[in-house]
Symmetry: C2
Subunit: 451 residues, 2 copies
């Protein structure tokens, strides 16, 4: 029996929870069709909208799959026991991690959540050619133990690339190569410790605090506005580090102005803390020149993190951090030898890609492509919502002031085969003023999808 | 000025420390020659043996390089500041992590510490051929996001391999692929938490507790004897898990008998804890059949960990864990999507290697090879020491009861161009009864080196 909350507003949520538990526990089996919205609404004595919202939430999270004109069907889950246990307390209610991996995308004709590069844009033949070349050129050297901070050739290639593309003067020595951003966040926790909390932007890419939490670090949310992180709130926390994305905040799109950058550096200096500069999509600034990095402003206080997953392919687990010398030193002392997390072969291939200029040519092609996508997208959105877009990367925020609630926005989109999330989905603590804002990540869109 | 301890026994250590600091701080420069032992001994009013021991320790740790007939020369360090800060408290005095990466091996003609497969044994042409095939066959599918637990094809291939080689019946679903053993230890901490300590074998591969410590977990040493971990001591700790290598303990070589295995499982059941079965070299049991794994005895309590770094190449960062269903479930719920730490390309190549039987052919060739190496080695050692060898893997213990101390054993070896460590180098807390035992890891030896 469904136990509706006293609060009428949460009816859809109770219904959604009950159905979810039935799916997880196996009471409802994969392939089974849910009752029609109208029938279930009548049966339970609730409105059709309530049922619609519950179904929409289940669909958005991959528990059911809507099929046009034939209703909603339960997805096959991987029959893993105990799925309905609570997840980590930081991410309690409402953030049920998806049970399936890599399959969600396929049920939607258009995915505005995952930022996966359309496959046809990847320079596959170049990459394959470089792999073959590395295999021939390096031969058995590829078997050697990789230094824990990464292959020297790749470190130099990254340093040179950062200079060419971002004007950053980075001593290649202080670069550490690692298997993707998540891995590098873990390294950061290992270097900065778990005694003091980490300030993270609210809202943010939820992977960030969840990876910190997995690594035993406590995260405290700090509101992020048009000008980036709120420094006054930050000052009140005894944080050891602030994780920010100053070039293009995800999901708000905010670009941190120089005054706030300076204030943040002052904060780090005054508390002997660090700034983690997450530069995840700075390559894709579509308007104007890339901004000066914070790392360039204060190399002794800033850990700069970036990856090639966004610009090359998510299947390549390759990122890097530029560490302040004191942290690099700690890394070299405390990490075990031979514990590089990326194979030498992949490091050499990427180095060849950077050194040969192939990567920059690829990024510049991508930027042209995304300028077209963005133009078409802005045309489509015109008049339907308020668009907040700084042109600094591959997502924008669309506000629908006349909609009822965020769930409704997602539901309407889902019924049209569009998967999207709202700013509220990325909040760690509530900020009702950010309601009714859809986050439109267009990095996975093809130009044809918008015709 | 050198400040000798009151305790005469530590004279060499004070000398070693002073010299080390001078090298790190740059007072003594790379390439500089140390004074002759005799001259320095006279200058300081200590015995030549004291100087010899200090130089030996410096050489063993890569700060100086002995050149035959011309003395000791300071190595070039990477001029990183603050190198002389203390390392993690768990590994305080005497365990100075090496400053250099991948270069130590070259200065010794014979390295009995690092277990790096001689390059000529790696099936390079097979590997390169498989890589080309994967590149052609999979094409753009290689760009897809990798499921966080690993590529399904590789998981099946590992499961089938474990059945063929070890008689293990493992549901491929519960396998998690990760970038090497160190990465997987981190995952284990993320799953089992940091509230309760982890029991580790004393002595052990020191990377193990240092990686746990980096991940914020506390380690408690439990003495390991001929029959593996001491269960009575284990029972007194409120540990959440015991990390053991039952097939072939490193470095003692002990093989855990069935009674102790059963006792360990009883322990895990009674405290609701887990056993981490580190099966790092079970492929290389040179005498008799491989032992039954603990994972097969109690899949709900055992996390089985193994890698391909030992049997293929250390530059390939590829390992896997077989998780109990409850932990697998937790992994799938709490880890962010798309966070696999190994690229799809490498996973597909390894899957092809396992499925095609190439890996097993390679291991069987290696075993024949190492049988020869071991035979020659035992001949060489005969009469010079007491050998403890169970034939269960690629290292053995040689006891030199008539030597003065462990430092002397290493020094004598270093002067002959041989790098080795003693059991005491792998201790977390002291066990004087294990003195005078050299650990001879012959996995990096070529047969010719023993002629």
């Amino acid at each position: 029996m469904i136990d509706f909350d006293a609060n009428g507003k949460n009816k859809y949520y109770s219904l959604y929870k009950t159905l979810r538990e039935d799916i997880i526990s196996g009471k409802m089996r994969g392939g089974e069709r849910l009752p029609s919205k109208r029938a279930l609404a009548r049966m339970l004595g609730v409105s059709v909208t309530t049922v619609m919202l519950a179904y929409g939430q289940l669909a958005a999270e991959g528990y059911v799959c809507p099929r046009e004109r034939s209703g909603h069907f339960v997805e096959k889950l991987n029959g893993v026991p105990n799925l309905n246990k609570k997840s980590s307390p930081l991410y309690g209610v409402g953030k049920i991690p998806s049970v399936k991996s890599g399959e969600e995308t396929r049920r939607y004709s258009c995915d505005l959540v995952k930022g996966v590069l359309p496959a046809q844009l990847f320079p596959f033949s170049t990459w394959a050619r470089l792999m073959r070349r590395v295999l021939n050129d390096c031969g058995e050297h590829l078997l050697e133990r990789v230094p824990k901070d990464g292959d020297a050739q790749l470190k130099y290639a990254i340093s040179a690339y950062l200079f060419r593309s971002r004007g950053m003067e980075v001593d290649p020595r202080f670069i550490v190569v690692g298997a993707g951003a998540e891995y590098l966040y873990g390294v950061i926790v290992q270097l900065l410790g778990r005694d003091k909390p980490y300030a993270v932007e609210n809202p943010c890419y939820t992977k960030i605090p969840s990876v910190y939490a997995l690594n035993g670090a406590k995260c405290l949310p700090v509101a992020v506005g048009e000008k980036g992180m709120d420094l006054r709130s930050l000052g009140k926390l005894a944080a050891c580090a602030a994780h920010v994305s100053p070039s293009h905040q995800f999901p708000t799109g905010a670009v941190m102005p120089a005054s706030v950058r300076a204030g943040l550096i002052d904060w780090a200096n005054s508390v002997d803390g660090f700034i983690i500069e997450d530069d995840y999509d700075s390559e894709f600034r579509l308007e104007g020149k890339p901004l000066h990095s914070m790392q360039s402003l204060c190399p002794s206080r800033v850990v700069y993190v970036n990856t090639f997953s966004k610009s090359l392919a998510p299947s390549m687990r390759l990122g890097y951090a530029v560490l302040p010398p004191v942290l690099y030193d700690k890394f070299m002392r405390s990490f075990p030898d031979g514990a590089s997390s990326v194979s030498l072969f992949e490091q050499k291939t990427l180095a060849a890609m950077l050194d040969g200029g192939y990567f920059e040519r690829h990024v510049s092609r991508l930027k042209n492509y995304y300028r077209t996508v963005r133009g078409k997208l802005l045309d489509k959105l015109a008049g339907k919502c308020e668009v907040y877009d700084t042109g600094a990367g591959l997502h924008l925020v669309a506000r629908f002031p006349s909609e009822e609630c965020d769930e409704k926005i997602k539901l309407v989109a889902a019924e049209r085969g569009v998967r999207l999330k709202c700013l509220s989905d990325y909040l760690i603590s509530p900020r009702p003023e950010l309601d009714l804002c859809a986050v439109i990540n267009y990095s996975g869109l093809t130009s044809e999808q918008l015709d």
